[in-house]
Every structure is written in C-alpha cells, then in structure tokens.
C-alpha cells in the first residue's frame, strides 16, 4: 500500500518508520525547516518538505495514488483540511486523522474523515487503567458510520471472566466481538472459547455501549 503521513512530529515519524518496516511504501510530509535535517537522515527519499495542507504539495507527494492518508499534525484545523483535500481533489479512498481536541471527533466524522484517533482519550483510558488496575476498555478507533468504534478489553488476572467461556459474558446490545488476542495469536471467538488472564478482547461497538462494557469488565 502507498500511505502518506502528514506531520513529522513524534507521532508522524514513529508511524512512518513503522509503516516502512512493515513493507509499505510510505511518504512523510513535514513543513518545519528545523525538523527536516533529522528527518531527512532517517527517511531519505521517503520525506517531502512542504506544507501538507497545500494542494500542490500533496500532488507532488503523489496523493492521487495514495491508498491511505494519515494527518497527524498538532493542529486539528490542518488535519481536517488535509483529509478533505485528499478526499476531494485526489479521491484518496481512506483518510485517518489525529484529533487533538476530543470535542472535534464527531465533526471530523461528519465531514467525511474515515477514522479519527484521539490521544487524549487513549491517555485517559490508560491512566484509568493504572488507577483501577482492572480490566480496561480502551477505545482504539472511532468509525464515522453510526457512531461506532473499535475497542479493546485487556483482561486482568483478577477479572471475573478469567476461566469463563465467551458465551457466559452478558454482552449489551450493540457489541460485536471481533477477535481475541492471546499473545501473538489471533483467535476468532466462538461461544465455548475459554478466556484467560492477559487476553485482549477486540470488539466493534456502538458508542453508547462503552459505559456498559466498563461496568461489565
């Protein structure tokens, strides 16, 4: 896949390095001259200097053949416009945006951004996990359609669901279990699958179901 990442801060540069290591073709776009020397040493040809919210820069970066564009600058307004340009001018099939202010999540979805990732919510969830040392419901990705999201529940050793089967969990409406991650293994959940500590349950859920799941786990 060809993936364009706009914003060469720590999120953007780590993400680009990861995508390249996974064998994807990736391009990082960064406008800050001061960041260019370091990034250029790391990424070489996979770096483009320029303002990623300019149509001409995205065009130079080959946005017309990009499978995915990911906007991860520190400015929500820039991230939104970048995704909208990618969709409208370059027919990019998939746009993902970092959302710095959680209040902008719904707006971005409504304006056509395919997925949003919100660091504040992830950090909130992780802090809560530290505080409660319980199994935690962690939002991974928000989807635009139907106010849905993909979440992960990491089962703690003290969880009451450890040793129980999947069908024993009284899941609320609007929750679809998609996978269970056990170490490196990905398991498609069957009703009789027996849960263990450290299992990660991945589910597609309606946003309303999130607090219900928090109570359940």
């Amino acid at each position: 896949m060809y993936i364009i990442v706009v914003g060469g801060g720590s999120v953007g540069s780590h993400l680009t390095a990861f995508l390249l290591s996974e064998g994807h073709e990736a391009l990082l776009i960064e406008k800050d001259k001061h960041k260019i020397p370091d990034l250029s040493g790391q990424f070489g040809e996979a770096l483009l200097e320029g303002n990623g919210s300019r149509i001409s820069v995205l065009s130079e970066g080959g946005a017309n053949r990009a499978d995915v564009l990911i906007a991860v600058t520190g400015n929500d307004e820039d991230n939104l416009i970048i995704c909208q340009i990618a969709k409208t001018m370059f027919k990019c099939p998939r746009t993902i945006s970092r959302v710095n202010d959680p209040r902008n999540e719904d707006l971005f979805s409504a304006l056509g951004v395919n997925a949003t990732v919100n660091a504040t919510r992830l950090i909130d969830a992780l802090i809560e996990e530290q505080v409660h040392a319980d199994s935690m419901v962690i939002p991974l990705v928000a989807l635009p359609s139907g106010r849905a999201e993909i979440i992960e529940v990491a089962l703690s050793a003290s969880s009451r669901w450890v040793g129980k089967t999947v069908d024993a969990i009284p899941l609320p409406d609007g929750v679809v279990l998609t996978a269970i991650l056990r170490g490196e293994e990905i398991v498609v959940p069957t009703p009789e699958f027996s849960l263990a500590a450290q299992d990660k349950i991945v589910a597609l859920i309606k946003k309303e179901a999130e607090p219900l799941l928090r109570d359940l786990f």
Binding site: I55, E77, T88
Partner: protein, 134 residues
C-alpha cells in the same frame, strides 16, 4: 440583518464598522482582545472575547442562528474548519469564508461553501489595469 463576524483583524474590524454604520446588528468574535481597539463604540456592534469553539461563548450569539456568519481570521484552515463546524452545529443559512489560497477557495466552493478569495480579486484587478495601459 444579524451578522456574526469571526476575526477582528484589518478586514474583520473595518467590515464590522461599515456594516454597523449601515444599521446591521453585529457581533464580532476574537480570542485576542487587543484586536478590538479599532472598532467603533456603537450599541449595534458587540465585541465577544474568546474561543469560537467555546460553547458558552458561541451559544448566545448563534441561537437563534444569525442571518449571516462571516469568517475572516488570517488562517485559511481555521476559517474553513470553523465555517463547516458552525454551519453544521447551528444550522446557519449563509456563511461567507475568506480563503487566501485560490485553489483551496475553488475546491471548497465546489463543496458548497461560499468562499471569497482576495488573491483572485487582486489578480483580476491588476490584470484589468495592465490591460488598460497596453
């Protein structure tokens, strides 16, 4: 008309003064209070100091929705995001957005925003004068 203007820079503050002198009810919003200093002291020109995304600030001036919302901060991307956000949230019928970048202006025009590009205006005017001379 009831008009809300975002951005009290050179364009926003002058525009507010002119529209207020024509009798319109104006509310002008800026996060920098010092930008209000060139505004006329007249009762139909209200200054609102704060962030346009702050609900407590925005609700009183946007409900009921104004007849016109004019977005003229100095940043194209801010203008385009605010215009789309407020139009959706408060169902404002008419929004005018300043966009410096001509290609961006044209793109959002096609997406249904009413954009005004000062670069295009200046080019047209200069070309007109060049043609007159030649």
């Amino acid at each position: 008309m009831r008009i809300v203007i975002l951005g009290s820079g050179r364009l926003g503050s002058r525009l507010a003064n002119v529209l207020a002198s024509e009798g319109h009810a104006i509310a002008i919003v800026d996060h920098d209070e010092t930008k209000f200093r060139s505004l006329e002291e007249v009762p139909n020109l209200i200054r609102v100091h704060g962030n346009i995304f702050d609900d407590q600030i925005v609700r009183p001036i946007f409900s009921p929705p104004p007849d016109l919302f004019i977005v003229v901060t100095g940043n194209d991307n801010v203008n385009l995001m605010v215009a789309q956000a407020m139009q959706r949230q408060y169902h404002i019928h008419r929004v005018l957005v300043r966009v410096f970048d001509p290609t961006l202006s044209e793109m959002y025009q096609q997406l249904g925003l009413e954009t005004i590009c000062p670069t295009d205006f200046a080019i047209a005017e200069m070309c007109k004068r060049v043609r007159k001379q030649s």
